[in-house]
C-alpha cells in the first residue's frame, strides 16, 4: 500500500502559514484611487459575523498562524472591532491593526490597547493636509491621522507608518521619512503602488517616473543608515524597474493567506483577479483544509508548476516566480513568468508601458467607490 505513504508525504509538504490578512470589511470612508480591495466590493450584510471571525482566528492559530493583520477597507468601520481584537488576542495571535485612523476615537483606541492590541499600522496619503486629503478623497483625514498617531505614541503600542507611494507623492519621500520620525513610528513601510484593480485603473495618474524611483531608493538608503535604531524602513523597488520579480507573498500559499469580508480564503489579497481559479469560503470548509488542499492554494504552491524560465532558474526559491496575478494580467495564464522579471519575454514591453504611463500629464483620479 503506497497510497498512505504518498498522502503523508503530500501532507507533510504543506507549509505552516505565518500570517493572515483578515479583511474585516470593505467599507471605508476614504476613496484612495490605488485601494488594494477588488473593484467589486462586499456589502456590509455579506460580511462575516463577529462569531464567524473569532472562529476563523482560532482556526488560524491552530494552523500555526502567528500574526493576524486586522484590515479592510477600514477595520474601524466594524463596530465589533474591539471584540474581534480580543478574540484574535485570546486565540494567541499577534494583532496588527491596519487603519486609516478614520473611525477611531481616543476612547475606542484606549479600549483596543486595553484588550492587548500589539501593533498599529497607520496609512498616510501625503505629508501635508491638502495633498493627503486630495489623494485619500476625504476631508480632514490628515488631521485625524495626526491625532491617532499621538494616541498610539502615548500608549506605547508600536506604530508603523504605511505610505503608499506613486508619482504624485514620491517626490515627498524625504518629508515622509521625517513625518514618520516625528510621529514616533518604529517602522516605515514605503509601499510602491501595486498596479492591480483600482490602481491599474488609475495607472496614468499614479505610475512613477524612473527618475523618481531611482531618487527614492537613494533617499531610503541614506535614511536607513542615518536612522538606525530609530526607524526601520521597508522599501521594495517597483516591479517593472527591478531586475528580478519580488517574491510575492513570500511564495504562493507558502507563508500567508487572506480572508475576505465574505469569508473567501485567498492565497493573496489580489488573487481573485485570476479568474481561472476557484476559491472556497470558511463558511463551507475548515480553514486548514482550504489552506492544505484548496485548488487555488495547490495550483502554484512550491516550484513544480513552474515552466521555464522559472523552471530552470537558480532563483526559483528566492523569487517564487514573482506575482501570479501580474502573470495572469499580462499573459492570460497565471502559470507563466511574471513580466517584472528581466528574463520574461515581455519584460521590455512592461517597462515601456510603465514609462509611457509615467509620462502622462494627468493628475486626475477615478476614486474608489462602493
Amino acid at each position: 500500500m503506497n497510497q498512505p505513504v504518498a498522502m503523508k508525504q503530500a501532507l507533510s509538504a504543506v507549509p505552516i502559514p505565518m500570517a493572515m490578512l483578515a479583511e474585516l470589511t470593505h467599507r471605508c470612508p476614504l476613496k484612495c484611487p490605488y485601494c488594494s480591495n477588488p473593484l467589486e466590493l462586499a456589502k456590509a450584510k455579506e460580511e462575516l459575523s463577529t462569531e464567524e471571525w473569532i472562529d476563523v482566528f482560532r482556526q488560524a492559530a491552530k494552523l500555526g498562524v502567528l500574526h493576524v493583520h486586522l484590515s479592510g477597507g477600514e477595520p474601524a468601520s466594524r463596530r465589533d472591532l474591539e471584540v474581534l481584537t480580543s478574540g484574535a488576542r485570546e486565540a494567541g495571535l499577534y494583532t496588527n491593526l491596519i487603519t486609516s485612523g478614520v473611525g477611531l476615537t481616543e476612547r475606542r483606541f484606549a479600549d483596543l490597547v486595553e484588550r492587548g492590541l500589539d501593533h498599529v499600522q497607520l496609512s498616510i496619503q501625503g505629508t501635508d493636509a491638502a495633498t493627503a486629503d486630495r489623494i485619500g478623497g476625504y476631508k480632514r483625514g490628515f488631521d485625524q491621522k495626526m491625532k491617532v498617531a499621538e494616541w498610539v505614541k502615548a500608549s506605547g503600542v508600536p506604530l508603523t507608518v504605511n505610505a503608499v507611494m506613486h508619482r504624485q507623492n514620491l517626490g515627498y519621500l524625504a518629508e515622509t521619512v521625517d513625518l514618520a520620525v516625528r510621529l514616533g513610528a518604529r517602522r516605515l513601510e514605503v509601499a510602491n503602488t501595486q498596479y492591480h484593480g483600482w490602481a491599474y485603473r488609475n495607472r496614468f495618474a499614479l505610475m512613477p517616473t524612473p527618475e523618481q524611483v531611482k531618487r527614492g531608493g537613494e533617499i531610503v538608503a541614506e535614511a536607513r543608515e542615518r536612522l538606525k535604531g530609530v526607524l526601520v524602513i521597508d522599501y521594495v523597488t517597483p516591479d517593472h524597474l527591478a531586475t528580478y520579480p519580488k517574491p510575492c507573498m513570500g511564495g504562493w500559499a507558502r507563508v500567508g493567506l487572506c480572508v475576505t469580508p465574505r469569508g473567501t480564503v485567498l492565497p493573496c489579497h489580489a488573487a481573485e483577479t485570476i479568474t481561472s481559479l476557484t476559491f472556497e469560503s470558511v463558511r463551507d470548509k475548515p480553514l486548514a483544509q482550504i489552506w492544505a488542499r484548496g485548488t487555488a492554494f495547490t495550483a502554484y504552491r512550491g516550484t513544480d508548476w513552474m515552466p521555464d524560465p522559472c523552471g530552470s532558474c537558480d532563483r526559483q526559491t528566492k523569487d517564487w516566480g514573482g506575482c501570479r496575478c501580474q502573470a495572469f494580467a499580462w499573459n492570460g495564464d497565471a502559470a507563466t513568468v511574471d513580466p517584472a522579471c528581466s528574463k520574461a519575454p515581455n519584460h521590455a514591453e512592461m517597462r515601456a508601458a510603465a514609462e509611457a504611463e509615467a509620462a502622462q500629464a494627468t493628475d486626475d483620479f477615478e476614486y474608489r467607490t462602493m
Binding site: 505552516i16 505565518m18 491552530k62 494552523l63 500555526g64 502567528l66 500574526h67 494567541g92 499577534y94 496588527n96 500589539d118 501593533h119 499600522q121 500608549s155 506605547g156 503600542v157 508600536p158 508603523t160 518604529r186 517602522r187 513601510e189 538606525k228 535604531g229 530609530v230 526607524l231 526601520v232 521597508d234
Partner: protein
C-alpha cells in the same frame, strides 16, 4: 549606534513578545511584521532580559546557567541585543 553599557537595562517594548508556537514546537520573538525563530541561546538571553536586570546582571545569570566564561557570554549577548536594538525590537533604559 552606541554600545550597550554594563549598567544599561535592555527590555522588550510593548508590541514585542516571546511566544511559544505549539504547532512548530518552538520559541518565536514576535514584533511588528516580524516573527524571529529563536534558538536555545536566543531564548536564554531574552528570558534573562526581564526589564529588571542590567546588562551585567544578564551576563552573570547566563554565565552561571551555562557554566561558561563571562567575557564570551558578554560578547555574544551584546551582539545579539545590539542587533535587536537596531531593529527596534529591544529598547534600552540607562
Amino acid at each position: 549606534m552606541t554600545e550597550i553599557a554594563e549598567t544599561d537595562v535592555p527590555f522588550l517594548p510593548r508590541g514585542v513578545r516571546v511566544h511559544h508556537c505549539a504547532v512548530r514546537k518552538g520559541w518565536y520573538l514576535l514584533a511588528p511584521e516580524r516573527a524571529v525563530k529563536m534558538d536555545q541561546i536566543a531564548h536564554a538571553i531574552l528570558s534573562a532580559t526581564d526589564g529588571d536586570r542590567d546588562f551585567c546582571g544578564i551576563v552573570d545569570k547566563l554565565a552561571v546557567d551555562f557554566n561558561a566564561p563571562k567575557d564570551r557570554i558578554a560578547q555574544d549577548a551584546r551582539k545579539f541585543l545590539t542587533d535587536l536594538v537596531n531593529r527596534r525590537m529591544v529598547e534600552i533604559r540607562p
